[in-house]
Symmetry: C2
């Protein structure tokens, strides 16, 4: 099976979210733009380490950087989360539909064979 | 900041979903139980490699194995996806609320300073 662009995007998105610090940064940015220095403040890690986390979030499209101000503030791109949510919801929907069908089938069996 | 059980669960869940084969397996299981042999059939990889993917899905709680039949069929545990969806939705909600507040603020500014 060929790997599609969607597969690559989902790989990158879920891998980006599989880290507590990166999820923290996403949470912080959901409340407003912030510079790398501001984002790094709560952590006992180097500015460079925080920058690397932000680059991972940029590569999967979750975060973008301002181009015009020297501080290049980071902002959340929440539309990018849509792909992840859609994938999860599709799996849950398929499962729920199957459960509904099974339930309907059991009900018909009981109606056809009342005890 | 201390790492919580929830953080560990989300790390494991998102890391499990960051692989195309594992997402395929979740999709397959959303349509019904399957044995490891059945799950491995579409892939050009060893049964052992597929088993390892399934173990990753078991460790994060997404998949459970039957105990009573020798084939130990795999089943999806869709409730486990709830944690991942909740986390994503919380981030999107915070962002949307912030946008709504900004919009309200702009509207008030325009009303106070009509052109």
């Amino acid at each position: 099976m060929a790997t599609t662009v969607d597969d690559e995007r989902l790989d990158a998105m879920f891998a980006a979210l599989a880290d507590r610090t990166r999820r923290d940064i996403v949470n912080r940015l959901s409340r407003g733009e912030a510079t790398v220095t501001e984002l790094a403040a709560p952590y006992a890690m180097s500015l460079q380490a925080v920058s690397q986390h932000i680059q991972v979030l940029e590569r999967c499209g979750l975060v973008s950087r301002g181009r015009h101000r020297q501080s290049r503030p980071c902002r959340l791109e929440p539309a990018a989360l849509e792909a992840a949510v859609s994938w999860i919801e599709a799996s849950r929907r398929a499962w729920t539909e199957r459960m509904d069908r099974l339930e309907g089938h059991l009900q018909r069996l009981q109606e056809e064979n009342p005890t």
